[in-house]
């Protein structure tokens, strides 16, 4: 279980500029085996929140605890999947997936066997000896996912992992992720800017406000699981759309300047 209490993050402004408060009083509890998605307007601090949970970013106030222990930097129970994928271009797919295990000192034969298992799991069997730059964007992110899964984390932190992919690839990977998650059932914290993605994947959707990011609402998603491959089920899809629409109304309300009718202009004949 991850508990976040009173979390605040301020980025110092560049010389002369004011400090920027990125996150303001975040209180959140993430249950074990929960798939939590976080959504909010761009620049709201979604990624900052995830990096703080990952232990990659010092926080200014409040605390983050995992199973009761406050985090100090990255930990073995967490693994991250990055928006820009971050594969080592000089290593094979196999070595990339085994990277986390290698850093932990797992012997080569053992870590490669494990890596092969997760490469199969993400559907890349046969690509072990290829280099990352030979792969498409979608395949690269499968490698990124396999690399995170290979260290068998309790918590998977995903930072807009499908954000840079085209829609078809994105859908395929969403279905794959649902399938994989339903077998592994790790806790997932998933950042996205796609409302549909947030609802499709999440047990709950956390809505963040514009900067400084704070939690506006947590929307439960009562869609039945398993959800993999159910997009063609009409009733199910209607439910999905309903929740997505609700989310959109809330997000739109957060940016009144953009949608409020312009002030009436007196028209004099």
């Amino acid at each position: 279980m991850i508990t976040i209490a009173g979390l605040r993050k301020v980025f110092p402004g560049r010389t002369g500029a004011e400090d920027v408060e990125a996150l303001h009083d975040i209180n959140l509890t993430i249950k074990d085996n929960e798939f939590l998605t976080i959504i909010g307007p761009s620049g709201c601090g979604k990624t900052t929140l995830l990096r703080a949970i990952a232990g990659l970013l010092p926080i200014d106030d409040g605390e983050i605890r995992i199973d009761g222990a406050p985090i100090r930097g990255p930990g073995p129970e967490r693994a991250m999947v990055f928006q820009n994928i971050a594969l080592l271009p000089w290593d094979t797919v196999l070595a990339n997936v085994a990277f986390g295990l290698e850093l932990r000192g797992v012997p080569q034969a053992e870590r490669e066997e494990k890596a092969r298992h997760f490469i199969r799991l993400v559907g890349l069997a046969g690509w072990e000896r290829r280099m990352p730059l030979e792969l498409s964007g979608g395949m690269q992110q499968r490698v990124g996912l396999a690399r995170a899964l290979a260290v068998e984390p309790k918590v998977l932190l995903m930072d807009e992992p499908f954000g840079s992919l085209d829609e078809q690839t994105r859908r395929l990977l969403q279905e794959e992720l649902i399938r994989i998650w339903e077998t592994t059932r790790t806790t997932v914290v998933f950042i996205t800017h796609s409302m549909e993605e947030a609802v499709l994947l999440g047990d709950r959707v956390v809505l963040l406000s514009p900067r400084p990011g704070s939690i506006v609402e947590i929307v439960p998603v009562p869609l039945a699981r398993p959800r993999g491959g159910r997009v063609d089920d009409m009733g199910w899809s209607a439910e999905l759309l309903g929740i997505t629409a609700k989310l959109w109304r809330r997000l739109r309300d957060m940016q009144p300047d953009l949608v409020r009718a312009p002030p009436a202009v007196a028209v004099t004949p």
Binding site: G55, L56, P76, A79, M80, L88, P89, L103, L133
Partner: protein, 267 residues
């Protein structure tokens, strides 16, 4: 699939062939212009292309040239090795640690902008006409290129890779070995290649201006005897050596960093 692959291979083959064709044509034009220009000038000081080519063959067959090359290359090899040995670690430290950067940045800049030949009198006074002063001068020529490129290589390592490694709890040595060094390697290799070219320049300059031995001595002697064909031939030999060494460096660069884009793009 295989048809596409074959076509691509064919294309590449044809492009390769045509590149050599163009090079040969360019060289033929250059040689012809030289030959005609020299014949038109009709002076002893400008030998013809054919005369120089003949002299080059004679020179390459002579013991004298190889002795001179051997002697000159001592300073080249030693100076280049010292540049690599000092420059790569220094560049790595400057790229990664702010303190190292602040301590040494100004000296690297001085070395970059100072005309190194102007330092020759200083070297002569302090070190005399020795192998050491030749090696030091070659090092002064090559070192800044190695440092600057290595530093740039470390700095340009994708910061998301560093963050990724950190998220998997990599230690600083692990970050160096698995991320920083491989990431900087293409730029380091470029630095070595440029440094090698500068070493050759340094090697010849030091012998022309300072310690008259080896190739530089040969050049000065042929000039004194009005042997202009042999003088030009000596320069041709130096150019050939430089081209061979640079090509070897390029080949090595490609071998050790196969994932990196072609070195032509990286200068």
């Amino acid at each position: 699939m295989s048809a596409i692959a074959t076509t691509r291979l064919d294309l590449r083959g044809r492009v390769g062939a045509s590149r050599w064709t163009y090079r040969l044509i360019a060289f033929a034009i250059f040689a012809a212009a030289w030959q005609l220009g020299a014949m038109a000038a009709g002076t002893l000081f400008v030998p013809t292309f054919l005369g120089t080519a003949r002299a080059t063959v004679t020179l390459i067959a002579s013991r004298e040239l190889w002795d001179a090359l051997l002697l000159s290359n001592q300073s080249l090899v030693l100076g280049f090795l010292v540049s690599v040995g000092l420059g790569v670690p220094l560049g790595l430290a400057m790229g990664r640690f702010r303190a190292a950067e602040q301590f040494t940045d100004v000296y690297v800049n001085i070395l970059l902008v100072t005309p190194i030949a102007a330092l020759i009198p200083l070297l002569l006074m302090s070190l005399g006409f020795t192998l050491t002063s030749r090696v030091v001068l070659v090092t002064l020529f090559a070192l800044p290129m190695v440092v600057v490129n290595t530093r740039a290589g470390v700095r340009q390592v994708d910061s998301s890779l560093l963050e990724m490694a950190r998220s998997f709890r990599a230690s600083e040595p692990q970050i160096w070995r698995r991320v920083l060094l491989p990431g900087a390697l293409p730029a380091i290799m470029t630095g070595l290649r440029i440094g090698l070219g500068r070493s050759i320049t340094g090697m010849v300059i030091v012998e022309l201006l300072m310690v008259s031995v080896g190739i530089g001595n040969l050049i000065l002697r042929y000039r004194g005897f009005f042997e202009y064909e042999l003088l030009y031939a000596t320069v041709v030999v130096v150019v050939i050596e430089a081209l061979v060494l640079i090509a070897a460096a390029r080949w090595l660069e490609h071998r050790v960093t196969p994932w990196a884009p072609a070195s032509g793009l990286r200068g």
